[in-house]
Amino acid sequence: MQAVNTYLRGGVALQDFEFLSPKTIEEAVSIKAAAGNKARALAGGTDVLVQLKVGRFDIDQLIDMKNIPELNELSFSESDGLTIGAAVPCYKIYEDPTVRSSYPCIVDSSELIGSIQIQGRASLGGNVVNSSPSGDSLPSLIALNGSAVIQGTSGTRSVPLEEFFTGPGRNVMTEDELLVSLNFPAPSKNSGAAFLRFIPRNEMDIAVANVASSVTLTADGKNFESARISIGAVGPTPYFAKDAGDLLAGQEVNDENIAKAAEAAKKYASPITDMRGTIEQRIHLVGVLTKRTLDIAIQRARG
């Protein structure tokens, strides 16, 4: 039933839907293709179920993705990098020794999403599909040059995450497509990355702004070889602040250059004023967080 008085909902009840639990990705795709927007994928449910409760969308079917093997994969190799199945919950990610040692920026993000309880369910895949501008993993995934592996009726494709998001709650996936996994290249030598978000409390909050920075330094640690900076909660989608990272390439690691990158990152921000923050505050925070994440990323790159 269409929720006419959506204002009234929230908290207790969910709309009526059919619950499907496919065992293969092909089966899931065929369900999704048949139902289109009337079906949603369910992984941890920490976004989808809340949105259903408040009547954000109207569905007939909920497709539980957690019984599909590919969506539970968590693997790493030097050649293929890191693969995180779309339904792998946060705690499995941040407790994984390889992720902890090689992708601390992903740990930063996945340890910040919701509470310990939420991290027992929520997946980075869900964070990506939900495509909220403030999603706490999205800048990290972009800064780490991650890509989304998507499967639909016409097959599988891989989309760089910096091109994935198209608007609040919107992305490049078509109605028949489902997210299978996230993929990240193996970290290069002398590289490091970090994520920070700013919230008024110290937990359980939506970012006023968030930033991830990833850097690769020269072997002596004195110069930037390259850098990728991504910012969130300051526009309709998270942004890849390409210029901000590019201007560091080949430059010396010093406060002045970091400040320049922070200024460049701020130029990408196009926030709104709402209950979580003002335009001015958010742009300012992008600068502060860019500096701070670069500092941590540099420390990590230097080991």
């Binding site: 929720a3 006419v4 204002y7 929230g10 207790v12 008024p200 110290n202 937990e203 006023v208 923050g277």
Partner: protein, 762 residues
């Protein structure tokens, strides 16, 4: 049950920390809160609420909802009897029954977004929610007024066309009608001396304007009410309420039933803080039950709790304080305009009465306005009205002290109010502990430990609250094995069963675990005011002591019978009855309890207290903060809350009350607010965006209990629950000012506003 002895206490039981009688159920999930109730044949109710902040209801069509499978009944205001204008005292707030009926089901107009319009009862909650979508309501949308400034502006839309401003002389009085139609429901003024002349002759005068937002009590258990209207016309209500008798009166008045036909059974309450005194869904659940012949349970969801229960007022305030170089305050002027929400009844009179209480003043002018706006009607919230006004006064006091170059506590001590001084309302203070609390601050480890580091600051502030008296009934029963039953009408919000039992135990010379305390329903115990106003341990304690003494009087008669002497010749001490005539004639309480049947039958006694000598109380807080000047974020580094508790009843829970109140105040100061969009929508009605403090946002909260015994209680007990929320807003603001050199005058002092203030400073 273990009893931790307190070497400081001069009593055997009072002042110790026994384990609560009721706590086992609460740590095992067995305690039954209102939300946990499930009755045979029970239906689930849900309320349709207005999507507009201000609108006329043109038409309500419930036919589609009624036809929906699984829906058993729908009610609207047309099912409500006509309710007359009659004003009642709810303990901490006043209310008019006609308006309370409209609050439960809107009549003709909706006055805030979330106002109840209709309700359904269905086989399950999902069906009930679906049915709400099928109720068609036609609204004529009207422009809303959302702040006191908007509401008082020339030509502002009137919420209540028939409402006129009343001049009020004291708290909880109706006042005289000025005949002026306005959104200002009432105006209260206190004045003394000649403030204008005194300001002219002052060495320093500071005046500031303040704005605060509506905030919510934030109890974790949502409002819930379950009703069963029996075929014989008797109505039973089960609910998580702070006061069963108030709910009974409200429901009997709104439904036109004799009070004897309404029984309210208070369930365990998952937090109230003043917000669970009024009934929001009781009349509706009752009408649905009447229509269906089945019990109907209605539970709010969190969004409804925020948007449709009773938060406390946002405000616009000004405070002006003058002083001389010698540190004496010359005059004070305070203006308070409080949002009442959709119906009159903001706690502005309490704010006006309390805010200057820490100071003995000759010249003052205090004005308070109760202003209706298109937001939910405010309810009581812990020392209602006092924290906001204290923010205004205590930050200006701090600034005056700063300008004079005097330590803020020395400045306060120089002007401190004492026994015999008059409050601005004219009431004379009995024995109070203002000076003792201020001296305890000066002597505290916290105040004497220097605070070092960049962007760090320390703030202090005082607060005062009347504390409530009000009537309570208690019944004490002696069992044949010497154990004791205790029934009171006081709902137990936080351990009062035990705190009251401890007073009985003290009198009887037994241990608290030899007493089993329970909370009665409205049919089984005499009238008792709500558990609010910091009155329960104090006033119900007195009732229980009185009942215990009646029991002892009767038992003295029995002992006299055994010893063939007169009752007057029997004394009770150290848990034994002793004959004054023959020192060999002694019998323990327990042994005599075993002989009651043979000496005239069982013994029990009931007593009602209505204390007049209520022990009001002062609190003083010290707060250290660090401000991240890049982000505007405030970290509370250290916090100490001091309070005159008279005599701690239960030491641990006394501390816990002080800690809990302080933390609610810290949340109010830093992050909590009702964030409204221009159309009157509360944009942050979730626990995600209404930012109450989490474990990670706080340090440990140190407490120092100052004990200046209350002469109005046999053991010197004062109420403790409300005072601790009064000082924090100002203590935090003063600490921030000390850290960054900017005085913030708007709440919340969140990172955005601090960043903006820092930018303005540059």
């Amino acid at each position: 049950m273990t009893s931790t002895s307190n070497p400081k206490s001069k009593y055997n039981v009072v002042g110790t920390s026994p384990i609560r009688h009721d706590v086992l159920g609460r740590v095992t999930g067995k305690a039954k809160y209102g939300v946990d109730l499930r009755l045979t044949g029970m239906l689930f109710g849900k309320t349709l609420r207005s999507p507009h902040a201000h609108a006329r209801i043109r038409k309500i069509d419930t036919s589609k909802a009624e036809a929906h499978p699984g829906v058993r009944a729908v009610v609207t205001t047309s099912d409500m009897p006509i309710v007359n204008d009659e004003v009642a005292d709810f303990g901490e707030t006043m209310a008019n029954y006609r308006l309370l009926a409209e609050l439960c089901l809107a009549n003709g107009k909706v006055l805030y977004k979330g106002h109840a319009v209709a309700a359904v009862a269905a086989d399950d909650i999902h069906i009930a929610e679906e049915a709400l979508d099928l109720i068609e309501v036609e609204y004529e949308v009207l422009p809303p007024v959302l702040t006191v400034q908007q509401a008082m502006a020339e030509g502002a839309p009137l919420l209540h066309e028939v409402m006129t401003t009343r001049d009020v002389a004291a708290r909880f009085t109706r006042g005289t009608d000025t005949g002026v139609a306005s959104n200002i429901a009432s105006r209260i003024v206190f004045q003394g001396g000649d403030p204008e002349a005194a300001f002219k002759n002052s060495d320093v005068v500071v005046e500031r304007e303040f704005n605060t937002k509506m905030v919510h009590q934030g109890y974790i258990e949502p409002h819930n009410e379950t009703a069963f209207w029996a075929p014989d016309g008797h109505l039973t209500i089960w609910t998580s309420t702070q006061g069963a008798f108030g709910v009974r009166t409200q429901i009997s008045k709104t439904l036109g039933l004799p009070e004897a036909h309404v029984k309210v059974i208070p369930m365990e309450v998952g937090g109230g803080f003043g917000g669970k005194i009024r009934s929001y869904m009781g009349p509706t659940a009752a009408l649905l039950s009447k229509k269906t012949g089945r019990p109907v349970k209605i539970v709010m969801n969190r969004k409804e709790v925020f948007e449709s229960s009773g938060p406390t007022s946002g405000s616009n305030m000004r405070a002006k304080i003058g002083a001389n170089k010698d540190g004496k305050i010359t005059a004070a002027e305070v203006y308070l305009a409080y949002e009442a929400g959709a119906y009159p009844g903001s706690p502005v009179a309490a704010g006006a009465s309390t805010c200057l209480s820490p100071y003995n003043l000759e010249n003052f002018f205090v004005e308070g306005l109760d202003v209706v706006v298109n937001k939910p009607q405010v309810s009581a919230y812990r020392a209602p009205g006092s924290p906001g006004a204290a923010l205004a006064v205590e930050t200006v006091i701090d600034e005056v002290a700063e300008k004079l170059g005097i330590d803020p506590i020395d400045f306060r001590l120089k002007n401190a109010t004492k026994e015999g001084d008059r409050q601005v309302s004219g009431v004379v203070f009995p024995r109070i502990g203002c000076v003792e609390v201020e001296e305890a601050i000066k002597n505290s480890d916290h105040y004497n430990t220097p605070l070092e580091g960049k962007n760090r600051g320390r703030g202090t502030a005082m607060g005062w609250w009347f504390n409530g008296g009000n009537a309570s009934t208690a019944m004490v029963t002696v069992n044949s094995d010497g154990t004791v039953g205790l029934v009171t009408g006081s709902v137990d919000l936080a351990g009062t069963r035990t705190a009251i039992s401890m007073q009985v135990a003290e009198v009887l010379g037994i241990t608290p675990d030899e007493i089993y305390p329970s909370v009665g329903d409205t049919d089984s115990i005499g009238w008792t005011g709500p558990s609010g106003g910091s009155r329960t341990t104090f006033s119900t304690g007195i009732a229980a002591i009185q009942a215990t003494n009646l029991v002892l009087d009767e038992m003295k008669k029995r002992a006299a019978l055994l010893w063939e002497t007169q009752p007057d010749d029997v004394t009770f001490e150290n848990n034994s009855f002793i004959s004054n005539k023959n020192s060999e004639d002694t019998i323990s309480f327990k042994d005599l309890a075993g002989k009651l049947m043979g000496t005239g039958g069982p013994v029990s006694a009931s007593s009602t207290s209505n204390p007049t000598q209520v022990g009001s109380a002062f609190g003083g807080h010290i707060c250290d903060v660090e401000v991240d000047t890049d982000t505007g974020k405030v970290t509370v580094l250290r916090y100490t809350a001091l309070q005159d508790v008279g005599q701690a009843a239960h030491q641990s829970y006394c501390e816990s009350q002080v800690q809990g109140g302080a933390v609610q105040g810290i949340g109010w100061a830093l992050n909590e607010e009702y964030y409204y969009t221009d159309d009157g929508t509360m944009a942050n009605s979730t626990f995600l965006d209404y930012r109450m403090p989490t474990t990670l946002d706080l340090p440990m909260i140190d407490t120092i209990l100052v004990e200046v015994p209350n002469p109005g209680h046999p053991f010197g007990i004062r109420g403790v629950g409300e005072v601790p929320i009064v000082p924090p807003l100002a203590a935090v603001a003063n600490a921030i000012a000390d850290a960054i050199g900017v005085r913030l005058t708007e709440l919340p002092m969140n990172p955005g506003s601090i960043l903006a203030a820092l930018k303005d400073k540059k």
